[in-house]
């Protein structure tokens, strides 16, 4: 496994009812998870538009993680299902246009799964590490 590059940045867009609460629980119960994650709180994963993901990559994030409630647990009953279908379609488009598949990930983390949050973050970091730093928008700005 390649040495993990420490200055990778993962933009984590977390749904406030489940994933954000789970990450919060991880924090309060002193669960150590990599600090490359920048958490953005949204009311629901259904609020996440694919524009957020590509804008995050444009601004220099190396990976984007969208995390919501498990199917059926969504506070708004179907937000996570909509996000799943949207992000799946958007991933096939970004993959077709040349952005590595590992850059955009999705996960279900419930409010009590502090341990799962830790493993999700580590998995995401390892997969993003496989494709390394985001140089997609490095040149082509002038």
């Amino acid at each position: 496994m390649a040495k993990r590059n420490d200055d990778l940045v993962i933009a984590a867009i977390l749904c406030k009812w489940c994933s954000y609460a789970g990450a919060d629980l991880a924090g309060t119960s002193r669960v150590k998870y990599p600090e490359n994650v920048r958490v953005i709180k949204v009311p629901c994963s259904g609020r996440v538009s694919p524009r957020f993901a590509i804008k995050a990559l444009y601004e220099g994030a190396d990976g984007v993680l969208i995390s919501g409630c498990h199917p059926g647990d969504c506070h708004y009953s179907e937000g996570n299902m909509r996000a799943r279908r949207r992000m799946f379609t958007f991933k096939t488009l970004t993959e077709f246009m040349g952005i590595e598949e590992e850059r955009i990930q999705m996960s279900w983390v419930s409010a009590s799964e502090a341990a799962k949050w830790k493993s999700v973050v580590e998995d995401v970091l390892d997969t993003v590490n496989r494709v390394g730093r985001n140089i997609i928008f490095e040149d082509g700005n002038e």
């Binding site: 909509r82 799943r84 379609t89 970004t94 246009m97 040349g98 996960s107």
Partner: protein, 291 residues
């Protein structure tokens, strides 16, 4: 009676019976063969304009794009199969009300632009449309393409899907470099009807205005996603683009993804009343990729 006179006759009596306020059709143009014509009931030279109405293989320009400006008016519109698919898309998204619309469908074998047949006509499954108020029989019109021949429309994608991701990025960045952000692709598209496009929004600014490689790449990606599951493959964006960006590749890739994974094909009669695929969801959407 030829197709042109037939269209004129129908337009005439629609105006006479006060069923429509505006009629959208095609008239002859000496340089490219045909161009759109707008006939409103208040025109002084109504008779003369109605005589100009015609339909032939040069009527490639799509008319449903103008319905957005005619909200609230009763419109008669000449429409070939691919235009009817766009009208169905507009009806499905409640942009046009069915009772304000009189669809004068025409059977169309193929349409030409700059002398060659449009790529969509080889795979067209609506030479003889099935959703109309009036139908104009065409002389030598091929019959509709069978379902599996229709699938061949995605064959052009294989070459680009097999590329490595670095090659794909280089290819699409090269296409993006050509773009001059004239937005002809958006303005020509009948289903691009947003009041304020994401490209013009500046709070928040998702797509930078500068026409450099990265900003154009973002524009291509955002627009291709916005049309996912809605685009009916009328290829107006490819025809309108002055620098030849292959929009059909992106639109067909999205259409293929939506058809394979969510079983939805745009532009069908039964879609009216149903939700567009990306504003809907189902339990058995792909789930393994989610951690």
């Amino acid at each position: 009676m030829g197709m042109n006179e037939e269209i004129g006759r129908i337009a005439g009596d629609l105006f006479a019976k006060k069923k429509i306020d505006v009629f959208l059709g095609y008239c002859h143009d000496e340089h490219v063969g045909a161009r759109p014509i707008y006939i409103s009931s208040g025109d002084t030279d109504l008779k003369k304009k109605i005589e100009q109405l015609m339909f032939d293989e040069h009527c490639v320009m799509s008319l449903p794009g103008f319905l957005g400006r005619l909200r609230g008016e009763r419109v008669g519109i000449v429409a070939k199969g691919c235009d009817i698919k766009c009208i169905i898309g507009l009806l499905q998204e409640h942009q046009v009300s069915r009772e304000n619309l009189v669809i004068v469908a025409v059977e169309c074998d193929h349409v030409k632009w700059k002398g060659e047949e449009m790529d969509k006509c080889k795979y067209c499954d609506v030479h003889k449309p099935d959703f109309y108020d009036h139908i104009m029989k065409g002389a030598r019109v091929r019959d509709n393409v069978t379902a599996d021949k229709k699938k061949k429309i995605f064959s052009v994608l294989e070459k680009y899907e097999k590329m490595t991701s670095a090659e794909k990025l280089a290819f699409w960045k090269k296409q993006a470099k050509k773009c001059i952000r004239c937005y002809a692709c958006r303005q020509a598209c009948p289903l691009c009807f947003c009041q304020e496009c994401a490209a013009q929004q500046n709070v928040p600014k998702y797509i930078p205005d500068v026409a450099n490689e990265n900003a154009n790449y973002m524009w291509l990606m955002n627009r291709a996603y916005d049309l996912a599951g809605r685009c009916t493959g009328c290829m107006e964006c490819d025809r309108a683009c002055p620098v030849g960006i292959p929009w059909y590749l992106l639109n067909r890739k999205m259409a293929k993804t939506i058809a394979v994974n969510f079983g939805f094909v745009s532009g069908k009669k039964e879609n009216i009343g149903k939700k567009t695929p990306l504003s809907d969801w189902s339990e058995d959407d792909p789930d393994k990729w989610v951690r």
